[in-house]
Symmetry: C2
Subunit: 362 residues, 2 copies
């Protein structure tokens, strides 16, 4: 392992089982039929275990959008030109993108981290520039990243988790922007889950059927080149080193940063609300690299990207929303934040049967 | 038709197609792949048509919880004793119920209308008392309501819609509380949709399998008594008079009030966010009595009550949430309010491609 990656081996925080049990007991005493608030009950109990208190609260929400370009874009796998990545970074900074609007509406902190775009964005207010390269290399021809690029991208995510911790954030959302990054995420999911490109490749920002087939063929070429040949018996995907190597060869700067951020949040005890297709691929990577990281993740929504469900199932995730969203940027996670806030409000604010003088079940 | 019901024949407001088209055009210009915000896009466009402006806003939300008891409770169809209806009315007034907490969190207006409970609640702050009776009659033996009771309950709902309009509410949520009211709602859905009690009867607040079977048998007895014998060829359910008579015989005070409120909102041009199982039965009644009422309804969530999906399908509803909630009180609709707010914020606040200088699709 690259020496700069030693931090990845540090332990993640443990959940607080005492707080979990106290919250579970409280849920059973509130003036409602048991279970009648559905997933909102489980959410409040999970947040109690994460925050180590019977009555959890969603305070400051820290949103970080990671941007990076992808060499594989030159294979014609996206409906949008590569220049859009840098243009959207500017749009984030100016407040015009979906995640900008959502962050403002939620009163959340929004930071933007540009890891490396094909077009230079210039200096922008509120945007950190890492300049790891003009995007990754085309992974149908070589590894997407060098070892140094991978280490720096993972560290950039960890840096964001550290800033979230320093600011007292109670929830972390990682977003992403990168033309062609559904191709990279799909390739990674194929490698980690032993699935076929046809199962993971989807329309992304709007490919037609022929485009999706072409995308699957591009992914297959990459899997062939890098030796990730799906086979039910291969047992591939276990072990941190192999996962990191898959990430280096098939991933992207922003996917590595998300992975680093999710692990960094788990090491610092910050709950993570995972967004859609790309973020879930990073969650899968994080959970494979540091299994304890999975304890700190909640899943915001099921994306319209068809293969997302396969990743969610592998993570035993129960996403909160299914609104047909497929935008990325962390937008699906941001839209789900009020559900966490309301779950906490209900858990903390409802009267118990005893307090209200209401009779329980016959 | 009862003379006090003449208001039911008044026309509902028309949606604004110009505003709808303007909003649709705007959605296509925002900096995101077309359709990438999924249902949030359709929601913003629908609200634009309802509010008659390209950029809709969710301002004041008016929540009214209608309570009433059900004579059919004596058949043992609920997991909770009938006294809980009145106890929960007190809990609403004191702020300890789920809907009280949600209304406070959302900054919504919450009013409680007690149409008639088996136990007297006494005067309570913020609770209107209609006292139509100590609950409905047991509809396995006679009609649930007299014509006067039905007219008064429908009017109580219309009164609430009028108060919402007077206060400038931009969204109406109707909630309910009434031990045994899933039995009444299921019986109504059977009558209106020509379905069998086994398809509509569910656990409600927590019946076991034997309890659900008993509930279905109770509903079948009521259908037999009142002549609503499901048959695919009967064509039952069309026409306002027949629907009102089904409501009188099989419904409940709070279900009739919800129905009146939904029609009253459509007549005044107030968008309605429909809650779960009981509220959807009322939405079905409202849409059958005044078909234009359906234009003003949005559906918040799919309830955990299994038969709910059948009502939603009949209404071609596309609910926003599916969180396994089954509490009633309007709680599922309240939880969905932030989705409407965020849909509007995105629609109104995002930059267009031209404004942001972002390139469109290849």
């Amino acid at each position: 392992m690259h020496t700069n990656l030693n931090w990845l081996t540090h332990a993640t925080q443990a959940l607080d089982e005492t707080a979990r049990n106290a919250a579970q007991t409280r849920q059973g005493q509130l003036t409602k039929p048991p279970g009648a608030l559905g997933q909102l009950e489980a959410l409040a109990i999970k947040l109690a275990a994460m925050q180590g208190r019977e009555k959890p609260q969603i305070g400051q929400v820290h949103i970080c959008v990671f941007a990076g370009d992808h060499g594989v874009a030159e294979e014609g796998v996206s409906a949008f030109p590569q220049a859009v990545t840098a243009e959207m970074v500017k749009n984030f900074a100016r407040g015009g993108a979906a995640i900008s609007v959502l962050a403002k509406q939620l009163g959340a902190t929004l930071e933007v981290v540009n890891l490396g775009t094909a077009s230079d964005t210039g200096e922008l207010p509120g945007v950190s520039q890492y300049k790891l390269g003009k995007g990754t290399a085309n992974f149908t021809q070589q590894a997407a990243m060098t070892e140094s690029q991978l280490a720096a991208a993972l560290q950039a995510g960890n840096d964001s988790a550290a800033r979230a911790a320093a600011s007292g954030a109670t929830l972390f959302i990682g977003g992403e922007m990168g033309i062609a990054n559904t191709t990279a995420a799909a390739a990674l999911a194929c490698a980690l889950l032993d699935l076929k490109p046809q199962q993971l490749a989807g329309p992304g920002t709007g490919l037609d059927q022929a485009g999706v087939q072409h995308k699957a063929a591009v992914i297959q070429r990459a899997l062939d080149l890098h030796g990730f040949l799906p086979s039910p018996a291969s047992g591939r995907g276990a072990g941190g080193e192999g996962v990191l190597e898959a990430l280096r060869r098939l991933g992207g700067f922003e996917i590595a940063a998300l992975t680093g951020a999710f692990i960094g949040c788990a090491q610092r005890g910050i709950p993570v609300l995972v967004d859609g297709y790309i973020a879930t691929a990073a969650a899968l990577l994080a959970a494979r690299i540091r299994p304890g990281a999975a304890d700190w993740m909640m899943y915001a929504h099921r994306s319209a990207e068809p293969g997302h469900i396969l990743m969610l199932e592998a993570l035993r995730a129960e996403p909160l929303l299914n609104l047909g969203m497929r935008l990325g940027e962390g937008s699906g996670a941001a839209v789900a934040v009020p559900l966490l806030q309301l779950a906490c409000a209900l858990h903390n604010g409802m009267a118990t049967f005893a307090e209200a003088g209401v009779q329980e079940k016959i």
